[in-house]
């Protein structure tokens, strides 16, 4: 009976969360001219998806987004894990360093985008996916560092002590003990990093060119002076959701069961 309330609450939350994306799904499947119709399904068409790929080169941007988001996580996560570990375990740099790292993310992107453009231009990295990956890695780093720091603080220090007396280097203890024990945190941080890059708009806008734009840029371009092509936007949104839904099947293994300790008393 107690479970009933639980499921009721969760289902309610799911419904609230799901209604807008569902309406977007519905809109993506009706002709643009009927997108604002109050009927549930006035007509069915796949034109919006077709148009998105054929006319708006959505396929390219989709792949770009995947590369950039994955790439930035792959780059940022290890760096963030190491820095977060140093902050959590060795208190490196004290409170100052922690807050300084975080503070780099406190400026609105608007203030950073021109200078960032300038240095990337200098390095010949504008208009290229590696450039975007680099920038996103740096943008993600502070957040991921902090999140992982929070998780690492929960790992009993004696586990590393045990590993180090067992002959592991500090690195070995980190890699073989702390990392596996912190999988929930790493999974969460990874998803977060992916999503931040997946959705980032301003840097993508300024730093990308016609070949290297990402999904948010391409969807934003659908707001034209002739009106918003909302059906196509909806189609884009529906497609943009897919990777996370697929990925969450794997991620939740870590986030959901976590690890039960039993190693220390």
């Amino acid at each position: 009976m107690r479970k009933f309330g639980l499921h009721f609450g969760l289902i309610l939350a799911c419904v609230i969360v799901l209604l807008p994306p569902l309406w977007a799904l519905r809109t993506s499947l009706v002709p643009e001219s009927m997108s604002y119709s109050t009927e549930i399904f006035p007509a069915f068409t796949l034109d919006n998806y077709r148009g998105l790929f054929a006319k708006n080169r959505f396929g390219t941007f989709y792949v770009n987004s995947l590369i950039v988001a994955l790439g930035s996580v792959i780059v940022a996560l290890p760096f963030a894990a190491c820095t977060g570990y140093a902050f959590a375990r060795f208190r490196t740099g004290g409170r100052f360093a922690r807050f300084a790292v975080l503070a780099t993310q406190m400026l609105p992107p608007v203030a950073l985008v021109l200078p960032a453009f300038a240095i990337l231009r200098g390095a010949g990295l504008t208009n290229s996916l590696p450039g975007l990956i680099l920038v996103y890695s740096a943008l993600n780093l502070p957040f991921l560092t902090w999140i992982l720091m929070g998780f690492f603080e929960g790992v009993p220090a004696d586990l590393e002590g045990a590993a180090m007396t067992d002959g592991a280097t500090a690195w070995g203890a980190f890699w073989r003990i702390v990392i596996p024990v912190s999988l929930p945190g790493l999974a969460a941080a990874g998803v977060l990093g992916f999503i931040l890059s997946w959705n980032e708009f301003l840097f993508a806008l300024v730093l990308s060119g016609p070949q290297t734009a990402t999904i948010p840029v391409s969807l934003a371009a659908l707001q034209t002076s002739n009106g918003v092509q909302i059906a196509k936007v909806s189609a884009g949104v529906v497609l943009a959701i897919l990777p996370l839904v697929i990925a969450s099947r794997f991620i939740q293994r870590f986030i959901i069961q976590g690890l039960t300790f039993g190693g220390v008393k």
């Binding site: 009993p156 004696d158 586990l159 002590g161 045990a162 590993a163 180090m164 007396t165 067992d166 002959g167 592991a168 280097t169 500090a170 070995g172 073989r176 003990i177 596996p180 024990v181 690890l259 039960t260 300790f261 039993g262 190693g263 220390v264 008393k265």
Partner: protein
């Protein structure tokens, strides 16, 4: 070479308290040393400093003659059994034990062999695939022990490694550890609260209190010649009976006068060291096992004790009784398993006074006398 030397080593914690203060200790290469002391006295802290897991606030720690204050744990090549086990929660028992070997680059085959052997020894064969979360307390402790013994480090640091094992297993493990020590000849430091472990396993016993080292020596030496009341009481169960008394000197006899009607005489051969204390207060220390129910030797001295309780432990009975009449003092005596006496009855017991100690009542220090031979 893995002698371990501590020179005025202290550990001050973040909150300002000292875990250990100005400890001096030299452990020879290959020595088996027991750390003993009340809860919270700094045993684990000392061990962890030796392992390099606790930073040293001041003083100098040397292993094999080399100062290691800033040497990484892995480069000290010690194996540790943590008091809280510190098992790797995400690894199976096998991997927990194999980890140290893997880290040292031992070949897989050899690892397999060694782990299998240790598991055998510890009765963990059937549990090798389990994760620590699915083990009982004692099983976890055995894994922790196994993790240390599969390796052949310069030194073993064992922090109460047998505390959660049943008596039988504990006895076996005790034996195995001693064998291991004989076989490898490596330095071993063993923290324990177990009387038997303390007395039988080590070459030397170090008694700690409040972060300081009180007395070290061969176990039976320390047992026979405690430096002070604390050591005397601590190193025995039931603890030594401490009886406040007056040391009187009359008729050429040195007598411990407990109350007007109760006294025991000092054996004549100890007159010389003790006579200086005559005429003043003294604390007499009589071990529970020096009190007998029958007078087997003539020099044993009779005392009358009012029975408070008789605890039957199966193999022996411990009598708890009151000595003296005005201000009766509770004493305990280890008697045979057949001994019995009703509560409140008065029984006559006989004290072997030869191993009796006299302590300065004020300082608690033992009044110096030539050391008794061990085993007394």
């Amino acid at each position: 070479m893995a002698s371990i030397e501590l020179e005025r080593v202290s550990r001050r914690f973040a909150n300002g308290t000292y875990g250990v203060r100005d400890i001096d200790l030299k452990i020879e290469d290959g020595e088996f040393v027991i750390f003993l002391g009340p809860s919270g006295c700094g045993k684990s802290t000392t061990l962890r400093m030796i392992a390099g897991l606790e930073s040293i606030s001041s003083g100098d720690l040397r292993i094999g003659g080399r100062s290691v204050n800033n040497v990484a744990p892995r480069d000290r090549n010690v194996a540790v059994v943590f008091q809280n086990y510190a098992l790797y929660p995400h690894m199976s028992v096998w991997h927990n034990m194999a980890f140290g070997l893997k880290m040292r680059g031992v070949g897989l085959e050899e690892i397999d062999q060694k782990v299998a052997k240790a598991a055998d020894l510890l009765g963990l064969n059937l549990l090798l695939q389990r994760k620590p979360g699915a083990l009982s307390g004692g099983q976890r402790q055995r894994v922790a022990l196994g993790r240390a013994i599969v390796r052949e480090p310069e030194a073993f640091l064992l922090d109460e490694p047998l505390s959660n094992l049943d008596a039988q297993l504990r006895a076996e493990m005790r034996l195995e550890l001693v064998k291991l020590h004989r076989r490898l000849g490596r330095t071993m430091v063993h923290v324990t609260h177990d009387q038997v472990e303390a007395m039988t396993m080590g070459d030397r016993i170090c008694i700690m209190r409040d972060g300081q080292m009180i007395q070290t020596g061969r176990p039976l030496d320390v047992y026979a010649n405690p430096a002070d009341i604390f050591v005397a009481r601590f190193l025995a169960t039931p603890p030594m009976n401490l009886i406040p008394a007056q040391l009187t000197h009359a008729d050429d006899k040195l007598v411990v006068q407990i109350d007007p009607t109760t006294h025991v005489g000092v054996p004549p051969k100890h007159y010389a060291p003790y006579v200086q204390k005559a005429g003043g207060p003294i604390t007499a220390g009589i071990r529970a096992e020096d009190i007998y129910e029958t007078q087997a030797r003539p020099e044993w001295q009779r005392i009358s004790v009012k029975v408070v309780a008789v605890e039957a432990l199966g193999a022996e009975n411990v009598l708890i009784g009151l000595l003296g009449r005005d201000k009766p003092i509770e004493i305990q005596a280890r008697l045979g398993r057949h001994f019995f006496a009703p509560v409140d009855s008065i029984v006559d017991l006989y004290v072997d006074t030869e191993p009796m100690h006299l302590f300065d009542t004020e300082t608690g220090k033992a009044v110096a006398r030539p050391p008794l031979p061990a085993g007394r």
